[in-house]
């Protein structure tokens, strides 16, 4: 299937590794991506706070351009872009007045957009639910065996409600990474916020949040944290040194994109996957992987006295 592709501003600078590996992985999986011509910024979380109607119009321009290219689904690898595209499309459908206002604004640029005509999708959603985690794992040539990877979804994978995964305990990335052969612990902060723009306006709070996230991953023996959003990557990676000096800690936790890890497992060369863009070096993690041999997980013995554990609710529940 052909998808419109919305790289988002960070693709051009801070997250070019994500953009590059997204395209490589998509090609390997047979997803046809066509970049939206002359797309503009989605406004991130900033525009909505200042002026809401221009914020809607800003995002709607991208949807209108995607529609003009003849695609009905647009893939965004960045979670914030994904949420903005989805939110604008849905709100325009829910509120007729908003729809007509936004279209009136678009008309000033000779554009128009019909709500519902272009569906926004996160890259992770398309890979796990359209291609399918099973299909991906069948394509794995070099399993990530021996690596413990912590899946970190950030806020926007399940939120706001109506996304493609559980709001509180999403599973797609867990399934994907397991399918790649990695050991994936249950990381309870998987959908906690990375602090977003707080790193810039309230550093103290942000560093505390980031420390909690990395600390739990380290306790779980993670070789790396795997993310699906440039903002999460930026905060966890770029601020890691600063938080180490602030708290006197010594974390060296590589923060990698899930597309990078997929590309590795699909047999692409690590040297081409821009791991060097991370401020925290991914080298030790890659070396460990190359040295590792798949060994069976030791099973914990249960005490005889232990009470039965309830079965998890499969598939999650969104209310």
């Amino acid at each position: 299937m052909k998808y419109a592709y919305y790289p988002g501003c960070s693709a051009e600078s801070s997250a070019s590794a994500y953009d590059a590996t997204s395209q490589m992985v998509a090609a390997a999986l047979g997803l046809e991506l066509e970049e939206i011509k002359d797309w503009n910024c989605c406004g991130a979380t900033e525009y909505f706070s200042i002026d809401s109607l221009p914020a809607y119009a800003l995002v709607a321009r991208n949807l209108a351009l995607a529609g003009r290219q003849g695609t009905s689904e647009v893939i965004a690898p960045c979670s914030a872009c994904y949420v903005n595209l989805k939110k604008v499309d849905e709100r325009m459908g829910d509120y007729p007045q908003l729809n007509s206002d936004v279209n009136e604004a678009l008309a000033a640029g000779n554009l128009s957009y019909t709500p519902g005509s272009v569906r926004a999708r996160h890259l992770l959603d398309v890979i796990c639910n359209e291609v399918g985690c099973d299909a991906v794992s069948e394509k794995v040539v070099r399993p990530l065996a021996g690596l413990t990877l912590v899946p970190y979804y950030g806020c926007y994978i399940g939120r706001p409600e109506g996304g493609f995964d559980d709001v509180e305990n999403p599973q797609t990335l867990d399934r994907l990474l397991k399918g790649l052969g990695a050991t994936v612990p249950d990381y309870s902060l998987k959908s906690s916020c990375c602090g977003g723009h707080m790193t810039q306006i309230g550093t103290e709070v942000a560093l505390g949040i980031l420390r909690g996230l990395i600390d739990l991953a380290a306790k779980l023996g993670a070789d790396a944290m795997v993310v699906a959003c440039p903002m999460c990557q930026l905060n966890l990676d770029v601020y890691q040194n600063q938080l180490n000096s602030h708290f006197g800690t010594t974390y060296r936790m590589p923060i990698v994109y899930f597309t990078q890890m997929m590309a590795l497992a699909l047999g692409m060369e690590a040297a081409e996957l821009k791991f060097e863009e991370g401020l925290v070096p991914a080298g030790p993690m890659l070396e460990k992987w190359q040295a590792a041999e798949a060994s069976p997980q030791p099973r914990k013995k249960k005490s005889k006295k232990a009470l039965p554990m309830p079965e998890p609710l499969d598939g999650g529940d969104s209310g």
Binding site: C9, S10, E12, S13, S14, A15, S16, D38, N40, C41, G43, A44, T45, E46, Y47, F48, S49, I50, D51, S52, L53, P54, Y56, A57, L58, R61, R91, D94, D101, V102, E104, A105, L106, A107, A108, G109, N110, L111, C155, G158, R159, P160, E161, E168, C193, G195, G196, H197, M198, Q200, I201, G202, V205, G208, I209, V238, N241, Q242, E276, L279
Partner: protein, 184 residues
């Protein structure tokens, strides 16, 4: 209850899609307990809602609560009354700017960001960092120096912004939207 349409409460209800749900707040504290930046807010969202209901508009708009909101939507998805809390935070920022009542850097951060978007059509991380920090945290900016350098050396910061081709078209759309927004 009849609300003063110009009060903070009245404006949330009349101007914000879904804002009327604020009336059904139970004051349970789910939002305040869930917020990642909660520890640093001068009032938790829950308390802010009580203050809004009590008509303490000036104090509400001077609060740092909504500026510390990171838009993670956790409060929104957990609220047992389905109040669109994140959107209310956006709206409070909007009201605070209009009233000229804000004390944080966040608004300048947002405005710098938007300035770039309006001028170039794309965000400009390097420009954002330099302009924002030079204006507000000259010393903090220095502290950020090594980090920016590290990013530059890894090709993760562009020194020049990318400009989209149809900047004129985008500006026309945004100006029109502002015009429509202003007429209410």
């Amino acid at each position: 209850m009849t609300l003063n349409p110009n009060s903070v409460y009245g404006r949330i209800i009349s101007e914000l899609h879904g804002g009327e749900k604020l009336r059904s707040c139970l004051q349970c504290g789910m939002c305040g307990g869930s917020c990642p930046s909660g520890p640093d807010m001068d009032h938790t969202p829950r308390k802010l809602f009580a203050m809004i209901a009590a008509g303490q508009d000036d104090e509400v708009l001077r609060s740092n609560t909504f500026w510390y909101c990171v838009s993670c939507y956790l409060c929104t998805v957990r609220c047992p009354q389905e109040i669109p809390i994140t959107d209310i935070m956006y709206h409070l920022k909007h009201q605070a700017i209009q009233a000229g009542l804000y004390t944080t850097d966040a608004v300048d951060f947002s405005e710098t960001f938007i300035g770039h978007v309006e001028n170039y059509g794309r965000a400009f991380e390097f420009g954002l960092a330099t302009q924002f920090y030079l204006a507000h945290h000259p010393l903090g900016g220095l502290k950020m120096g090594p980090m920016a350098l590290a990013m530059l050396s890894r090709g993760r910061l562009n020194l020049r912004p990318t400009r989209i081709k149809a900047v004129r078209q985008l500006r026309n759309i945004l100006n029109k939207a502002k015009e429509i927004g202003a007429r209410g």
